[in-house]
Amino acid sequence: MTTTPTAYRATAVAARATDLSKVYGQGETQVVALDRVTVDFHQGEFTAIMGPSGSGKSTLMHCVAGLDTFSGGSVRIGDTELGSLKDKQLTQLRRDKIGFIFQAFNLLPTLTAQENITLPMDIAGRKPDKEWVSKVIDMVGLSGRLSHRPAQLSGGQQQRVAVARALASRPEIIFGDEPTGNLDSRSGAEVLGFLRNSVRELGQTVVMVTHDPVAASYADRVIFLADGRIVDEMLHPTADGVLDRMKEFDAKGRTS
């Protein structure tokens, strides 16, 4: 297995976790969610994090994205060390440098699609880059539905709004938490396609947590987590390859 294909990575690191640990509870009830995880997310790369339930894949994403605190180690987004930041600075960092896509879409029902897309800039008090925003909107194919409210859109369309929202502020990195979890396979494929295109064509960095091998196959690289540790990595994954790898873990899990 080629676990360190460093030669391939000439680009800079967008986010990096070093010896990252996350422990819940104390003493007997202590649960180690992340156990000294070290991982780099490179600029212009689409990374998928996979693993069985309880493997710590969501926790890893939350810690790296500045949504959750961690017990040990360090996390950097660009040049910023997250461990030393107060809530206010963390909020600002998320606002300015990170984009999010959630499983449950999480759009504001009172705002139109357009307003939802530019919400992060509104919050930051920045004027959106109109050209860029319309490019993003064109890419996700929402041009005709900008004045619709979320309730008037299908699930797939809502998630496309969420993707556009994440892209619109040109963040350094986008995190997706099971972005296709609530979608049917066709809508899911569309959303994943947009994410891949944003990486390929716009040079965006995307990190996505998923349990779906097909979704993972859209990524450039898949990281496998189990029991809070990175157990494997796969470059240029295919759905079948990922599925096989997952089955191996399952078998191991059963025999061990």
Partner: protein
């Protein structure tokens, strides 16, 4: 089903908290009021029973120095009663006004409660009604005794000289003793001066006469038998009663006196409960909405609609019961607080334990439980309409817009009818008041029904402003506020109701106050008005004294008289000709006021017109002492508030009256209103503490004072509505924050900081409260205008005044309500656990 209801209550403890608080406040007010008035009336009743304990029979008259027909009860009558079988003793009383000057020369006490009476020692030299703590009773004509509190307030010791004013000139007496008494008026904070009996008789009636007699029975004698024996001995104009009957009568009078207070306080409670209904209804609507799936499941497994409604009602019943019990306990505390509060304001209440009857308890529980269940009835019905299939679908049933259409149509019709009635009432003049009241009630209900509809355009109007001022928080807040129009409406209603009442009354009060102010400044040319502090009439000596005061250029009394002209009773003002037009604004229509004098009169325009009297007519007159005469009409003048319809020279009525009745005297001074002039008048009156010299500002305050007091009571009402409104806004926001956890979590994740999350919630609260306030202020101003139209004709110089300053304060208060109410919900929104919130369902 009842068990599910109980479980639901327990499960939603926190969310029912505001409902419980609202019901509790209302119930506390109801039970507090009832317990308080029960306690008060029982205390007064005990006291009056005690003070009539020894009285077998009491004889009372309305004898008055001014009234020649009623002489009172003579010493001879007293002696004859004393000789009756079974009578142990008879005490004669004669009383009237007596003001005590403090060391600063000012009156001690409030004027209307300053009494003077006679010291009437029995066989042992003691007067059983008074217990002397110092010195003895007055037995010489230059001696007096004072009640303990008054003596203490004036700092007077036995042997010192005290200045006492009765209706005549002020006199100095030596303080012979200090006493305590059961007398109700004294215990309620009044003052009492005791004179030697002949002195009191000379001051208040005539030598040898009394106003009242109290008879005590010998041991074993029957009160009724004594009464029967007394009855033939007293004049017809006197009333003889047994002590027991008198005590009963007084108790009844006390009860009637308290019923006004009772009704006012219950009015407050009513407002609180009415406003509370919206809050309760809101809470249950939200609880039902949150439980849609659960309720649908119950329907799916076989619960009937009735059962669902009943379970919601049972839940409300439990909440109402708990809140009522706590509210009742709180009410008892409130009653105790009110009683000590009264003492703090100088109103003395007789001692006695709190009286907690069963009526307040039943009223409290009944009102609390019924109001809560009534308010939960509609949400309960709505719950029953949830289809069983809702259990399967993943989305919450959203309030349909269809029902809002029905609601809006009904609301529009009611509001239109109400507004039309108000306009019709306003245009019909003074008879339109009831039409307006009916219209106001309908309009208020209609607006409450319409409030959800109104919320959208009104808030859309302020939205751009909020976006400019507060950016994204402002924008989100404005949108959140209209997200659930029903909920916003019900929340805003609380403030709208309170502010409708208060704004209406403010507009009216300020307008009437301004008109009265204009009237006094327009009509009164005098610099000073002289009156008795007691509200009684001035002695003639005061008039003579003022006429001699240095600097007085015009002095005219406002002597009230009445006589028959041409067989028609008229009330007249007896004045000083020549001076009257210099102290009052009298507009002469025909003839000349200079003609006034012996055998002459002037008549007001309306009366003259009605009777067909003209200048030059000589009319037959019958005076109050039945003597006949003739008066020639010399002038016709425009009607004014300050003069009766007939004017005569004081000399015309003087021969026909025992004592002139002079309620006030107007004085114009050389140099106008100055401190020196005021001092000159006061000293001309012999530094009499019982006489007030009022300048123009005092006169204005006298007329405007009532209005201000009334307004202040109404502002108390606003405070109550504000408290409930705060609870309502807290409730709504807490629910909203709870429902929008996921959204707030997302906003935090994509970069909205805690401060701005808080601001968003706070702004939503402010928008809702200010919206309610704006609706209330609008409706209130409209009502104020309408009622003003009906009193326009009876108030010269009426012009609508919109009190912008007060309205500004109301709006600020409403905004403050929003900020205060948002404190807790905003904090919990900002502290929300982001990761839990954004997790998919």
């Amino acid at each position: 089903m009842f068990r599910t209801a109980l479980r639901n209550v327990l499960a939603h403890k926190a969310r029912l908290l505001m409902t419980v608080l609202a019901v509790m406040l209302g119930v506390a007010f109801v039970s507090g009021t009832l317990v308080f008035t029960d306690t008060l009336s029982s205390a007064f009743r005990n006291q009056s029973a005690k003070s009539y304990d020894d009285v077998a029979v009491a004889v009372t008259t309305y004898a008055d120095q001014n009234d020649a027909q009623q002489a009172g009860l003579s010493q001879k009558t007293l002696d004859r009663i004393a000789g009756l079988d079974g009578v142990a003793s008879v005490t004669g009383r004669v009383d009237g006004f007596a003001g005590v000057a403090g060391p600063d020369g000012k009156l001690i006490g409030a004027g209307w409660s300053n009494k003077g009476s006679n010291f009437s020692p029995g066989k042992g030299g003691k007067d059983t009604a008074y217990d002397f703590v110092q010195g003895t009773g007055p037995v010489r004509d230059d001696q007096i005794a004072l009640d303990k509190d008054t003596a203490a307030e004036g700092g007077y010791q036995v042997g010192e000289r005290v200045r006492v004013a009765t209706n005549g000139p002020v006199k100095e007496y030596t303080l012979a003793g200090v006493f305590t008494t059961d007398d109700g008026a004294v215990n309620a904070g009044g003052s009492l001066v005791l004179f030697d009996t002949p002195v009191a008789q000379a001051l208040y009636l005539q030598p040898g006469y009394f106003t009242n007699l109290t008879v005590t029975a010998a041991p074993g004698a029957d009160d009724d038998r004594i009464l029967a024996a007394v009855q033939p001995l007293v004049p017809e104009s006197a009333t003889a009663q047994t002590g027991a009957a008198l005590a009963d009568e007084q108790a009844k009078a006390i009860e009637e006196g308290l019923s006004g207070l009772n009704q006012m306080l219950l009015g407050f409670a009513g407002i609180a409960l009415f406003v509370g209904v919206f809050l309760i209804s809101n809470t249950f609507t939200m609880l039902v909405a949150q439980r849609t799936k659960e309720l649908a499941l119950m329907r799916a497994v076989g619960a009937s609609r009735k059962q669902i409604t009943r379970s919601v009602l049972a839940e409300a019943g439990v909440v109402g019961l708990v809140a009522s019990v706590v509210g009742f306990a709180l009410g008892i505390g409130l009653a105790a607080g009110l009683r000590s509060g009264m003492a703090a304001f100088g109103m003395k209440v007789p001692e006695g334990a709190l009286v907690i009857g069963t009526t307040p308890l039943i009223a409290a529980l009944g009102v609390g439980v019924l109001i809560t269940m009534l308010a939960a009835w509609l949400p309960g019905r709505r719950a029953a309409r949830i289809p069983p299939v809702a259990a399967m679908s993943s989305v919450h049933a959203i309030a349909t817009t269809k029902s809002l259409v029905v609601r809006n149509s009904i609301g529009a019709v009611i509001t239109a009818v109400g507004a039309a009635l108000i306009v019709v009432g306003a245009s019909t003049g003074s008879d339109g008041r009831w039409t307006i009241a009916g219209g106001a009630f309908l309009a208020l209900i209609g607006v409450i029904v319409l409030i959800p509809l109104l919320s959208r355009p009104v808030i859309a109007l302020v939205r751009p402003l909020m976006v400019r001022a507060f950016g994204v928080s402002g924008k989100l807040a404005a949108q959140n506020a209209v997200r659930n129009p029903r909920r916003t409406g019900a929340t805003a209603s609380a403030l709208a109701i309170g502010l409708t009442l208060v704004t209406g009354l403010s507009v009216l009060g300020v307008t009437v106050g301004a008109a009265l102010d204009k009237m006094t400044t327009d009509q009164i040319k005098a610099d000073y008005m002289v009156v008795m502090a007691s509200g009684g009439d001035l002695d003639r000596s005061a008039l003579t004294a003022l006429e001699k005061a240095p600097g007085a250029t015009a002095v005219s009394p406002q002597q009230a008289a009445s006589f028959e002209i041409d067989g028609e009773w008229v009330s007249a003002s007896a004045i000083t000709p020549g001076d009257v037009e210099r102290v009052l604004n009298v507009e002469v229509v025909d003839g000349s006021l200079a003609s006034l004098g012996e055998g002459r009169m002037a008549v007001a325009e309306k009366t003259a017109g009605k009777q067909g009297w003209k200048v030059g007519d000589t009319l037959p007159v019958t005076f109050s002492d039945e003597k006949k005469g003739r008066l020639t009409l010399g002038a016709v003048y425009k009607d004014t508030e300050f003069l009766s319809p007939v004017l005569v020279d004081t000399k015309v009525v003087a021969p026909h009256e025992v004592k002139p009745f002079i309620p006030q005297i107007f004085v114009k001074m050389d140099g106008g209103e100055t401190a020196a002039n005021e001092k000159a008048l006061v000293s001309a009156l012999g530094d009499n503490p019982a006489i007030s010299v009022m300048d123009k500002q005092d006169i204005r305050d006298e007329f405007g004072g009532m209005i201000n007091m009334l307004l202040n009571i109404m502002y108390g009402l606003l405070a109550m509505a504000l408290i409930i409104a705060v609870l309502g806004v807290v409730n709504t926001l807490a629910m909203s924050v709870f429902e929008r956890q996921q959204e707030i979590g997302m906003l935090r994740a994509i970069g909205l900081d805690r401060r701005r999350v808080k601001r968003m919630v706070r702004l939503e609260a402010v928008v809702i409260s200010v919206f309610g306030a704006v609706v209330g202020i609008g409706l209130g101003s409209f009502l104020g205008w309408a009622i003003g139209q009906t009193i326009k004709s009876s108030l010269p110089g009426y012009a609508l005044v919109i009190p912008w300053d007060r309205i500004g304060i109301f709006l600020l208060l409403a905004a403050l309500v929003g900020v205060l109410a948002a404190m807790w919900p905003a904090r919990s929104a900002a502290r929300l656990n982001m990761l839990n919130a954004i997790k998919a369902e």
